[in-house]
């Protein structure tokens, strides 16, 4: 009888040890599989050569007042608008508090005469019209997205239509008076 009790205790201790081993092995297996998956997922992120191309330098010297151009940055269009005094004025006299995405023009355009925005509608990613002078610019004189009718003003801010946010201003710095680096 005493013998059986002893055997039971041993079995129970054995059982615990088996569980511990089993759980540790299973945990290590699962974590190991996860570690194998990580490089695969990570490989989908931008590669080193893509990252190296993430900034461009742009000369503004050739853009006449009132003219807008498109440049390619990270595979997307960037709009550079050399604004007229009237366009600047329109952008600055707006009551910011009434905007859907309140931002002053002073924050968006480091130099008042140049507005630099990513030309991708914040709704679903179409390229708004209005860069070429022949294109529709919408009732606020900025850009008009043909996909779902979002209207942007001369500061690239959303004024009407479904887009939730203003056109993105990419990080940029002026290297000198006529050269800007984007990204």
């Amino acid at each position: 009888m005493a013998n059986t009790a002893h055997a039971h205790a041993a079995d129970a201790a054995d059982e615990t040890r088996r569980d511990f081993l089993l759980h540790t092995t299973a945990a290590m297996g699962v974590v190991g599989a996860g570690m194998m998956v990580w490089p695969l997922i990570s490989s989908m992120n931008p590669a080193a050569d893509t990252l190296a191309l993430s900034s461009i330098e742009l000369s503004l010297a050739g853009i006449a007042e009132g003219q807008r151009i498109k440049a390619l940055w990270r595979g997307k269009p960037v709009f550079v608008s050399h604004r007229t005094a009237q366009e600047i004025d329109e952008a600055r006299k707006v009551n910011v508090a009434e905007l859907r995405d309140p931002q002053t023009d002073q924050v968006r355009a480091k130099k008042p005469e140049f507005l630099i925005v990513v030309g991708v509608c914040t709704h679903f990613g179409c390229v708004p019209q209005g860069t070429a002078s022949t294109e529709v610019r919408g009732e606020f004189g900025g850009w008009f997205c043909p996909c779902h009718g979002s209207v942007y003003d001369t500061s690239g801010r959303i004024r009407r239509g479904p887009a939730p946010l203003n056109l993105e201003v990419p990080a940029h710095t002026y290297i000198n008076d006529t050269t800007v680096r984007i990204g």
Partner: protein
């Protein structure tokens, strides 16, 4: 006991193919002296100062004829240069870009994201300038030759007078490690060929070793990450295997087999 023998046999069987082809291939060539490279061994890596010296040799000597197509200036940060140093290094080179607004191609200073410019615009020009021979691209050279870095190093130093009676083609040099012994590249590496800023020895053997190490970095830039990741991953798998064995033994305890 028998099953352990079987397991051991399985391990050996798995290992055989990994040894066999290499040794078979080695037999085809002259015995190469084995060099003691910093990148050999379980955690072997690159010696940054040596890579910088090797790059200097490539830039001053090899680059006149040999391209390094798969290396960009930005990669040189791995040699221990700062971002600024890489930028000014790139700016010493010119690359073609364009077309500009008038439709013309133009030359501009290289940026870190640019690849190292080739010495010749195309294969025909390269052959024309080198007596009909094509200087191979060097970005993979240590992996593209049997013997790897040992071969490249010894080849660079293996120039000697042809044995009596050996008929040489015009324009060829005799190298005891080159297959067929007649190599179109003339002897390049000699004592004092370059002077290192860090005052390192610049005899032929050291120069050859530095440039070979640099070329091996160019061919296998992720070698250090491979070794360090490998050690961690393999140790993890080893511990897992031991635990799995113990668990298996527990589970099977009551099964006679």
């Amino acid at each position: 006991m028998k099953k352990y023998l079987l397991a051991a046999a399985a391990v050996v069987a798995l290992a055989i193919p990994s040894v066999l082809p290499t040794s078979l291939r080695a037999a085809e060539h002259v015995e190469l002296p084995k060099e003691n490279w910093s990148f050999n061994g379980v955690l072997g890596g690159f010696d940054r100062a040596q890579l910088q010296r090797g790059f200097q040799v490539y830039k001053d000597v090899c680059a006149a004829c040999h391209s390094l197509n798969y290396v960009s200036f930005r990669n040189f940060e791995a040699l221990g240069y700062s971002e600024e140093q890489v930028k000014s290094l790139a700016a010493q080179y010119e690359v073609e870009d364009g077309p500009d607004d008038s439709g013309d191609m133009f030359k501009r200073k290289a940026k870190p994201s640019d690849h190292i410019p080739k010495p010749f615009a195309n294969e025909s020009m390269a052959r024309l300038a080198n007596g009909g021979a094509l200087p191979p691209d060097l970005s993979l050279i240590t992996k593209a030759r049997v013997g790897g870095p040992d071969y490249i190093y010894n080849l660079l130093l293996g120039y000697e007078e042809p044995p009596a009676g050996f008929v040489m083609n015009p324009g060829s040099s005799y190298d005891k490690y080159f297959p067929g012994n007649q190599i179109a590249m003339a002897k390049q590496i000699s004592d004092g060929l370059v002077t290192y800023a860090d005052g390192s020895p610049n005899d032929a053997a050291h120069i050859a070793k530095d440039v070979t190490a640099f070329l091996h970095w160019a061919a296998e830039p992720k070698l250090e990450a491979r070794h360090s990741t490998g050690l961690r991953v393999t140790l993890y798998a080893l511990i897992f295997a031991v635990l799995a064995y113990l668990t298996k033994r527990r589970i099977w305890k009551n099964i006679p087999h």
